[in-house]
Amino acid sequence: MKKLGGLILAISLLLSGCSSDPQIDLLHAKQDEQELETLRFILEDEEKMSESVGVFFDHQVIVAVQVHPLSKFRKEKIEKRISDELKKKFPNHEIFVSSDLKIMWELKDLVDQHPSEEELKKSLADIQSLAKEAT
């Protein structure tokens, strides 16, 4: 009986990790609601994703995504798919999509801090240099 209880607990813990809705945090330096809505729509459309953060700044869109554990093997494909879709929707923006956890953490911190434009510029440059393994 005890074993069965343990098994049920283990399975429910395992499954509860997959059931939550995707969380999307967005920030726009110029507060353009329409662009934010477009980005939210694209990100919500991606069902393999568990969490995402997006930042608009000076004709740049920087997006970090986290995919479900079982989709981790196709992480790069999902990255590319989102990037292609964003390029279509924002043709005059520079697109940067990453599925790296570190970039996700850094971007999330940035969105939570509500930084000034100067800080945003510096932090985004830091994050991009991180992704290029320049640190």
Binding site: E76, D100, L101, K102, I103, W105, L130, A131, E133, T135
Partner: protein, 152 residues
């Protein structure tokens, strides 16, 4: 008694190998080692400027270092007895192989003993690791120069 009739008697008398139990303990041990590794890589990502991709190098180094310390203190032996392959297959087994060989041959002197035998087992890993990496890189270089693949 010839070898043919001897073998069934051995099979009859020898204790049965607990294959399933061994698999379970190996799975658990390997899993715990990997979970610790994951934790260390999160620490590197959270407190230092490492990304998911670059954090793997210092994580491997740290895990090997921890395994070397544990081997020196005689603790890895106990983990190995419990976990079997689960403790040998992760990268920590590599650290254990180096240090245990070094300790074993210390009595033969530092040059011919420790130096000569340290990489007895781990040397094969290094040689084949480096060689296969070279072959894969060679193939990729050829494919990229032919335009089939891209560096990414």
């Amino acid at each position: 008694m010839d070898a043919k009739s001897y073998q069934p008697i051995v099979d009859q008398i020898a204790p049965k190998r607990p294959v399933l139990k061994n698999c379970m303990t190996a799975f658990l041990t390997g899993g715990i080692i990997c979970a610790i590794g994951q934790l260390i890589s999160y620490v590197y990502m959270y407190f230092f400027n490492f990304t998911e991709r670059t954090a793997s190098n210092p994580t491997v180094a740290t895990m090997v270092f921890i395994a070397m310390l544990l081997t020196g203190f005689g603790l890895y032996k106990k983990i190995g007895q419990f976990g079997g392959a689960g403790s040998a297959v992760p990268v920590t087994g590599f650290g254990n192989a180096v240090i245990s060989a070094a300790i074993e041959h210390k009595s033969e002197g530092f040059i011919l003993g420790v130096g000569g035998n340290m990489f007895k087992l781990a040397g094969a890993v290094i040689v084949y690791g480096v060689f296969s990496a070279f072959v894969v890189a060679l193939f990729k270089t050829i494919l990229v120069s032919m335009g089939v693949l891209e560096w990414s």
